[in-house]
């Protein structure tokens, strides 16, 4: 177990120590330990920075849209797949639906450009039909629906896996008994299926709420140039551009640390809420 443990000590706890530069004026030449302490200056600057708060708002807004529009899709898809009696069809559709999860964001973004871009498939159909073409890829106003659609395309199929597992745990006899008692399909759905998967739904929802400061970093970074920072800046890209591109390491580390601390508190709180509701939670 030693190599694995060494990995965590060096690359997680070692890096964790590096967060001290959030309290320093980091100068690459002086190194992490040689740089000057500046106390909470970086944090003060951050809280007064309008762009930082714009990034926070963007992050929250995209996360909320994902909860409203993405979250129900895997559930609906799982219910649909579960209702199929022919297992060969179910297995085929499942295999196809899982696939995009394994494709990199680079390819997903390229695919979307190809299909929805200004010379893409959809626009050329619209053009041929004599209709207005729509600029979806480079349009800041269309950006949030676009990124939510991308997440649905990429991960909704994969998201069904956990719901399908919960559904397969339901005892067939319960359905049978309900049917004998005269319950129609809807009543069976309402009184047998839903209670059985309630725990999983609540759990995933709470976890998503706990993780609300994180929305796809790679996804945003890949498309930020096309629509500009007003639409696409999230906390992670803010950290990236301030620190690694702009060279303002201490300031960016402060923003990253802020996200880490608030994010950890949120996950912790979400887990507590899950326990309170009598659910299992994610750990312990």
């Amino acid at each position: 177990m030693l190599p694995g443990l060494a990995y965590f000590l060096v690359f997680h706890y070692g890096a964790l120590l590096g967060n001290v530069i959030a309290f320093k004026d980091y100068v690459p030449f002086d190194g992490v330990w040689g740089s000057r302490w500046v106390g909470l200056d970086n944090f003060r600057r951050m809280f007064e920075d309008g762009e930082f708060w714009d990034a926070v708002l963007n992050t929250l807004w995209i996360a909320v849209l994902q909860i409203v529009f993405y979250f129900p899709v895997p559930l609906a898809l799982a219910l649909l797949l579960h209702s199929l009696t022919r297992s060969s069809v179910r297995r085929f559709v499942q295999s196809v639906a899982y696939l995009p999860h394994f494709i990199s964001w680079v390819i997903v973004v390229a695919l979307f450009q190809q299909v929805l871009g200004d010379t893409g498939m959809v626009n050329s159909y619209l053009g041929d039909a004599g209709l207005h073409t729509v600029d979806i890829i480079g349009n800041p106003d269309a950006f949030t629906p676009l990124v939510v659609a991308q997440v649905i395309w990429k991960d909704a199929g994969w998201g069904t896996i956990i719901f399908l597992a919960a559904l397969s745990q339901v005892d067939e006899q319960q359905y049978e008994a309900a049917a004998i008692d005269g319950a129609g399909p809807w009543r069976r759905f309402w009184h047998v299926t839903l209670p059985a998967i309630r725990a999983v739904i609540v759990l995933l929802l709470i976890m998503r709420l706990g993780d609300i400061l994180s929305v796809g970093f790679e996804q945003m970074l890949l498309q930020r140039d096309a629509v500009g920072p007003q639409a696409a800046e999230i906390i992670d890209t803010f950290v990236y551009y301030q620190g690694l591109v702009g060279g303002d390491y201490g300031f960016a580390a402060a923003a990253g640390l802020f996200k880490g601390v608030v994010g950890a508190l949120l996950v912790y709180a979400a887990n507590k809420v899950a326990h309170r509701l009598g659910e299992q939670g994610v750990y312990r």
Partner: protein, 295 residues
């Protein structure tokens, strides 16, 4: 569950319901498959046909492999393909070794320090150290512009570790005891008892690692010079960001590579995943669930 017949208690769905389901299922399949088909067809079409059709093709009239010959002539794409394959292979192996040994130790009751070590590791999941300190660490360790910077910082994934640990815990205790009685040490138990029983979990975790290494581009953009880039980062620069593929000869990269060539790079980046996928996907449900349920 796996029968074709509808259970006796379930009534036959109305035709309208049946039709709605069929439409939904076909829509799901088409939404996934059509984009891939467009990419593949465009890469196989001639550039003239693509231009005539406005930038894409659904079914090439005169399929040609010219685009593939153009990029696989030993230039940057060929080189990056080798980098990606190498990093994926070495990374997956190293990651599996480290994850398996760690998961095994943490799955056995009474291992010295087991519980605190587990908490120590789970904490990193709750509180990741952050992008900037991670970058500075790699820099101070002198790993810039070395392929190790693509592997070592992401060596063990906590989710994969938890999946494997859960799977190991699910192996009946009697098997461990029997092996012990035969005088087997930890290594022997791991090698001849645990691993043969864990093929499904190993396949899934191995696939997750391999996909992660194959798909990674961000670290390469941070840590590597462009002549050492893996395929995804080349793809990002030349296809997504739209610089020219031929920038070594043109200079600033102002000339866009032909559409067919861009799509051919996309296909090359996707094909390895499509190749391993059918062999491994039967393990998904089993592997992922045993892990998820146990934890």
């Amino acid at each position: 569950m796996s029968t074709h017949a509808r259970p006796g208690w379930m009534e036959k769905p109305r035709p309208a319901t049946q039709a709605a389901k069929a439409v939904a299922l076909v829509a799901v399949v088409l939404l996934v498959c059509v984009p891939f088909l467009v990419i593949l067809s465009t890469s196989l079409a001639s550039q003239r046909e693509v231009v005539a059709n406005g930038g894409w093709v659904l079914w090439p009239q005169h399929p040609t492999l010219k685009a593939y010959r153009d990029i696989l002539d030993g230039g940057i794409v060929t080189h990056s393909l080798g980098v990606s394959a190498g990093v994926t292979l070495v990374g997956t192996l190293l990651s599996l070794v480290c994850t398996v040994t760690l998961a095994y130790a943490l799955s056995r009751p009474g291992v010295f320090g087991g519980k605190p070590v587990l908490l120590l590791i789970l904490f990193t999941f709750l509180f990741p150290p952050g992008m900037i300190p991670g970058f500075l660490l790699v820099k101070e360790l002198g790993m810039l512009d070395s392929y190790s910077s693509l592997i070592l910082p992401v060596l063990v994934n906590v989710f994969n570790l938890v999946v494997l640990r859960g799977f190991f815990q699910g192996i009946p205790e009697e098997l461990y005891e029997a092996a012990r009685l035969d005088g087997a040490g930890d290594w022997r138990v791991l090698w001849s008892v645990v691993l043969p029983l864990s093929k499904a979990a190993l396949a899934v975790v191995g696939l997750f690692y391999a996909v992660a290494y194959w798909n990674s581009w961000f670290y390469a953009s941070l840590y590597l010079e462009s002549d050492h880039w893996p395929l995804q980062q080349v793809l990002r620069t030349y296809v997504v960001a739209g610089s020219g593929l031929t920038d070594t000869t043109v200079g600033e990269g102002t000339v866009n590579a032909p559409q067919t060539v861009q799509m051919a790079v996309l296909v090359i980046a996707t094909v390895p995943i499509l190749l391993v996928y059918p062999f491994l996907q039967k393990y998904f449900t089993k592997g992922v669930l045993t892990g998820a349920v146990k934890s």
